[in-house]
Symmetry: C2
Subunit: 206 residues, 2 copies
């Protein structure tokens, strides 16, 4: 009877685990987004996922761990969105600009800014959140800067990348909060270009 045919009655253990974990993560995501981490209770999450708290604590060590998995999925989704938009056929400068737009687009998915930029740092600590998107997407900005600004030293690149990254985050937050997306995007792209300096073919004035 160990067939792979659709037998919804008896499921293999791996299947059960997978569906349960997914249900929990998605239910938790919805509640964390709408009510915040602190105001979301594990009974609520379990109920929304259609299981009991026992299952939750069987699959995740605690509420914080569940939140971490939610964040991880979210960060991966953002990274995927960015990579899908950077074909690699472009000049470093163009790639950077396309990647930037893709990031801002990816962050418009509802709840994403709240999870990654607001709740995340408070619940897991800034260090862990930065480690997460270091592992998923982050350093693409730094590398992009490195290539696009090739040759021009003049400023600590590592630090600059992180400052610009913060500006991107705020841009996403503003757009999500209902600010004029057009203005914010324009300002962000403009700031990025200032940071990149003059076009390579045009000899720099300094």
């Amino acid at each position: 009877m160990t067939k792979t045919a659709a037998t919804p009655l008896s499921r293999t253990n791996r299947e059960r685990t997978e569906t349960t974990r997914l249900a929990l993560i998605e239910a938790a995501r919805g509640l964390f987004v709408s009510k915040g981490y602190g105001d979301t209770s594990t009974p609520e999450i379990a109920a929304a996922a259609g299981i009991t708290r026992g299952a939750l604590y069987h699959h995740f060590v605690d509420k914080r761990d569940l939140f971490r998995q939610v964040l991880l999925r979210e960060a991966e989704a953002v990274a995927a969105g960015i990579e899908a938009a950077a074909p690699g056929q472009l000049t470093p400068r163009e790639a950077l600009i396309e990647g930037s737009k893709a990031y801002l687009d990816a962050m418009t998915v509802p709840g994403r800014t709240r999870l990654l930029l607001i709740e995340g740092p408070a619940v897991l600590g800034l260090a862990e959140v930065m480690a997460i998107d270091e592992a998923t997407s982050a350093n693409s900005l730094r590398q992009g800067l490195e290539r696009a600004r090739a040759g021009k030293a003049e400023v600590p690149l590592d630090a600059l990348a992180r400052l610009l990254s913060a500006a991107f985050d705020r841009a996403a937050l503003e757009i999500d909060a209902g600010a004029d997306g057009q203005d914010v995007r324009a300002a962000m792209l403009w700031l990025l270009e200032q940071a990149l300096g003059s076009e390579p073919r045009r000899k720099p004035a300094a």
Copy 2:
């Protein structure tokens, strides 16, 4: 009527209130900084302040309200630090740069970045925190930009100011987290200057 003489033995009600509130706010600040809002309990706060929870709930409507007062004090302290460093005798450009340095200095006070930049947005919501430092310090950056970039339209100033503000916040965070403060400051000031554009006396290249 009531004598205004100093009677240190029996304290007036206003005095009692003031000292109790201050004790609570300072005790709470310490705990919020070291353990975070979520992991700090009101029994703990009350004990650290040397009073009971009853007093806490007499003076503040709830834990969140107490946190709000802590944040308010902190934001005011930052604003004071900035204003103390901007004498007003300077050119708009110089004033902006001096103010920027002052901001980064003010944010080195232990716990300030965590309270204002990490816990604050999560506990009170980004909107309320932004309203708070709008009311205390914030728009000085926007006004500074406006003056220093006088004439050059080319980019939405409002949006740009908020993006730069986010970069400043991240700079403070990085310095607080132990990053090379020299590098971060250099990068931040450099980015600010790029945003300001070329010096007014020197005709812009673009």
